[in-house]
Amino acid sequence: MSNQEKEPVFSAKNLKLLSEPLGRNNPITVQVLGICSALAVTVKLKPAIVMALSVMIVTGFSNLVIASLRKFIPDRIRIIVQLVVIATMVILVDQFLKAYVFDVSKQLSVFVGLIITNCIIMGRLEAFAMANKPWPSFLDGIGNGAGYGMILVIVAFFRELLGSGTLFGYPVLEKLGIYKTGYENNGMAILPPMALIIVGLIIWVQRSRDKSLIGK
């Protein structure tokens, strides 16, 4: 270790771990992971944001734990170990929400438990944390959680606006007087297929701007 150069905490390489998942390596639009929960929690903005934060916490800390233990985890049972760590983390988050932020916990209800099944978390543990040091792994987890959360919020924004005519429950379209012109809420936007359509549109926009993503 002594002959290695000490890396600064926020070196360019580490910052890239944070920023890449937001754009070029986004878990949802590029790796197409975690789509399932993106359909479920994006009808309204508020649960989407809380879900995004919870996923960020869980990806960050489970990456951190797995990366710290990586040298002691037997290869043959690593998936089980990863699952145990994720499940423990999610149950702890759920218990804390129930005890200290009861309103938020009610809002999210079953979705907190569903974080366990989010493939992004396990994907990052397997692909990154098992082979890297704790700090970069933690940043990678936070970055991927944020990349996932960003897409959730964008999708939820359009679905709530088009489907219910509100943002955070505030009746935006009504205040703007759009309904007087004969506009009606799009019932399809509150159904899960609309989330897929919006994710598809985001992927389209992203690939048309960054040609290097095409044909990989």
């Binding site: 929690v41 009808v43 309204k44 649960p47 040298k71 002691f72 985890i73 037997p74 290869d75 043959r76 049972i77 089980i80 170990v81 145990v84 423990t88 149950i91 702890l92 218990q95 804390f96 129930k98 005890a99 200290y100 009861f102 009610k106 209800s109 079953v110 709530e160 489907g163 219910s164 019932g187 509150i190 159904l191």
Partner: protein
Amino acid sequence: MKHFSNRYIFIFSAVMVIAVAALLSLAATLLQPAQARNLEIEKKRNMLESINVEANRENTEELYEKYIKEGFVVNSEGNPVEGIDAFTVVVKNEQKKPLEQQYLPVFRAEPADGEKVIILPVEGKGLWGPIYGYVSLRSDMSTIYGTNFDHKGETPGLGAEINTSDFEGQFRGKKLFENGSFTSIKVLKGGAGENDPHGVDAISGGTITSKGLEKMIFDCLDKYNSYFQKNKI
């Protein structure tokens, strides 16, 4: 890749499982009082909302003391049952018993407008899980004074709309009885007429939740029929 012996793997798994179990039980035990307290406040707050009193976490206890006068338990004959705390009765567990043995909680409340109302708990099934709430009745035991509904995991934007004040507000002033017979409330697709004393508008896209809610109100309040007949003014 380092090789791990079978013995190491077994020991590793055992230590991991024990450590995780200890951590989780510790967290559950330490957080239990705070969680139980939240649930109690939530229950009181829902009861207050069913008599149209808005409460927040801080003033719930105070408002509950102020407006909710007493709670007692009756049986399906409408006679009081002694020695049971109405607040701790779990409606879901009661529903599993035969009707004659069920404890039916009743809470008496006096909101600020001087009306004397009773609050009755209801519990039923939505699409994904349980739905529950409180219905408050005026002293004629037929006119709904207010309602509060909640759910465990109905779809946000669809079935979950049952706990919005827009939906709950529709029940105000509706009648449970028609010419002395129990008619309950109908949740109607396509909207209820302005003067329909028994109908409210269903939630578009939330048909199963709406129907579950209709059934919940009928099933739960029907049991109080004898009590209503004995106590109506």
